[in-house]
Subunit: 429 residues, 2 copies
């Protein structure tokens, strides 16, 4: 018989259900099992005297074994689980589980060692449904707005933006590096006349960071588009994209996220508030007494980043905040600068965490080359500078971290918000 | 003025257009330019005496420079390009192009060196639109069929399936490897109870192959799903997926593909034909006199693979062919085998090229462990075998190469069908 999802069971009609055994009480005359599939849970009730062959199977079962059961579901007001239970006619053991190597109070390292068991919760299943919905909605929005999807190489011949924090590998008789972002190749697509592109794919950072939000490999969602007239166009695109995706997430999973993670999904109002970095510091000092060391005023400090959640909420009633006018010294050489040398880009902060850097890019070869040289970048970016010598439209774009978005939607630390976390000390399973 | 796509221009109404200069004839009294955007081409006509300031700008222009032009488009039956031309009122030079470093007859290596210029053709733009459509349609189909998207790590701690053909890298104080496929982690998601997942992402192969279809990095599209009863379920899923995606491609781009690439898009009939490997060899011998060396009968040889295009067409009137019953010796240890030791999997051939390997997987720990040991795999797959000790549903899946699909849809060799090809001697740009 074809398998039925637990949520689709019609009481009174015979059906077949498959799933993991979540609970097992094997008593003298009765056995009660709870089986779990991706849609829900169901109690199985075996009267052992009436069904000795099933009783024999039940005696071999263990928690988290996988079974397929056929029977009829009846309503029974004494059953806690939705007031119904299945009286099985047959039970097939698909997979026998050994005694679990971790309990519900295992620490994070043990949980990551056995991540595939750790993932078997309603919360974790929901988390990846939500991520799927979020990313799917972003792709849909972009496809409807004339973007093409590209896949840029992760194996690159030069050490990318700076040479620091980059993984090096043996590539036949030479060295290669892992791309720290698709930045250079997104821009290559602009020089190729693609006009609007996006990419989702892995991004590699050889950073020895041990925080709640850093990882050595994560999923980036990047886009780039041509014929913009200022970085305001880029911020608008990002507002539109995130608002669209968050609406979809709220609509499909808003209640469930609130129930399981205790966090509301808030569809942001447009336009998102915008502040210059210097004004952010002035307000943080005035409102919360935060004093930024003078040497760090050109960039947003980690403490200030956290405080902007409160600022955005109290000043604008908003969860998002665009911060602009960083110091050129702290920004990538490829950000366009205005006549006063101010980078034409921004960071976007959501719930006190930076989720994006975006900018209009410098597309004029001579200026770009000069900006690279000022940062001491030579040979490593030479291949990239070539993209701008033979015609390239003005353009801009941004990149989002998919795992950070998931982390912020669920309120979980990064290790819990990824399918499999990677850090300096974590490369398995 | 907001930019208008060339395809959306309404003659008689002033508009602004941006694009690359594809053609430039600067005569004594008149200048004719052709500007190209992502939607089409437009002639600009400058009467130099009437517009001396525009004439001065035109004198500075070069082929492939990027300009923004404002003016009114008029109909003119003498103009070849759609019978219309723009009389510009203003021209802004967005980016000045140097003399192009390659001509239209450049060889493939030069073209790849300057890939961003090489990509600036209607064919190449179309190719990535088509790929976007194909992959987007596959994702949509899967989302509608309860699949979630996951992102599995590309940095792994053990040398994956065999240790051969794997890239090794320095990971802080130890070694790491680049994933040759998401296979093990897709299956981990099954052990985690995700039931149905897909992933699109890069796949790395350290193969020193120099063919028209191999590359060291490509985009994989992989899926895996639980509670199947045989690999027939996997083949059906793949038929449904490909038929859906090809219908969409045909509908949106079929005519354009036929026009530019000379290839029809054929939406396949279901079910796709299925043949056992031994029967394929028997028919190839009988029909085309192909004799396979006895030592290679357990797998499909490259010559036989090519010939199956003809076989599928002449025997079944079909472009696709599922081939089953390979020898266990030639198949991965994780393919389930029947009681006679026959692997429960298949290859799918399209137009004479293998595009997929699929199978029901062995989910029973003891049998899987034995099959790994028989292949001499020990330490490297130990982490993977753990996934099956604590309960795992029966499952199966397959993987597709996105670039190979694109190659077959367009009839181009792999180097031309990727955004940026990577091979043993090719790591730039």
């Amino acid at each position: 018989m074809k398998r039925t999802y637990i949520k689709d069971i019609v009481p009174g009609t015979p059906c077949t259900v498959s799933g993991f055994i979540e609970n097992l009480r094997n008593k003298r005359t009765m056995a009660f099992l709870v089986v779990r599939d991706v849609t829900g849970k169901l109690q199985l009730t075996v009267e052992k005297e009436k069904a000795p062959e099933l009783a024999a199977i039940v005696d071999t079962l263990t928690l988290e074994s996988v079974i397929t059961v056929t029977g009829t579901v009846i309503e029974n007001e004494y059953v806690k689980l939705g007031g119904r239970e299945m009286i099985p006619e047959s039970i097939t053991v698909e997979s026998h589980a050994e005694a679990l190597p971790l309990g519900p109070d295992a620490n994070i390292d043990t949980r990551l060692d056995y991540r595939w068991i750790d993932l078997r919760t309603e919360k974790n299943l929901l988390m990846f449904r939500v991520q799927t919905c979020f990313v799917g909605a972003m792709r849909q929005y972009l496809l409807e707005n004339n973007f093409s999807e590209i896949h840029t190489p992760k194996l690159i011949g030069a050490a990318s933006e700076s040479g620091a924090d980059v993984f090096e590998l043996k590539y036949f008789d030479r060295k290669a590096y892992l791309a720290q972002s698709p930045q250079f190749y997104k821009q290559m697509a602009m020089a190729a006349g693609f006009e609007r592109i996006f990419e989702s794919g892995p991004v590699f950072r050889a950073e020895k960071s041990f925080t709640n939000k850093h990882t050595t490999e994560f999923t980036g969602f990047d886009l780039e588009f041509s014929y913009i007239t200022s970085f305001e166009d880029v911020m608008q695109m990002e507002e539109d994209l995130l608002t669209y995706a968050l609406s979809r997430v709220k609509q499909e999973y808003g209640e469930k996220i609130e129930e399981l993670f205790g966090l509301p999904v808030i569809v942001p109002e447009k336009p998102f508030p915008r502040m210059k970095l210097a004004d952010v510091y002035a307000e943080l000092r005035e409102r919360y007494g935060y004093e930024c060391p003078a040497s760090e005023m050109g960039d947003l400090t980690t403490d200030a980043e956290r405080l902007t959640a409160r600022l955005a909420k109290e000043k604008f009633g908003h969860e998002f905040l665009f911060i602009t006018d960083y110091s050129a010294e702290k920004r990538a050489f490829y950000h366009m600068r205005d006549e006063n040398g101010v980078p034409q880009g921004y960071d976007l902060i959501w719930r006190g965490v930076e989720i994006t850097t975006g900018a209009q890019r410098e597309h004029r070869y001579e200026i770009l080359k000069k900006q690279a040289e000022e940062k001491g970048l030579g040979e490593d970016v030479r291949f990239y500078l070539e993209f701008f010598r033979y015609g390239c439209p003005p353009h801009g774009g941004f990149g989002l971290g998919v795992d950070r978005l998931t982390m912020l939607l669920t309120g979980l630390p990064i290790k819990d918000a990824m399918f499999l976390f990677r850090g300096p000390n974590r490369l398995n399973p």
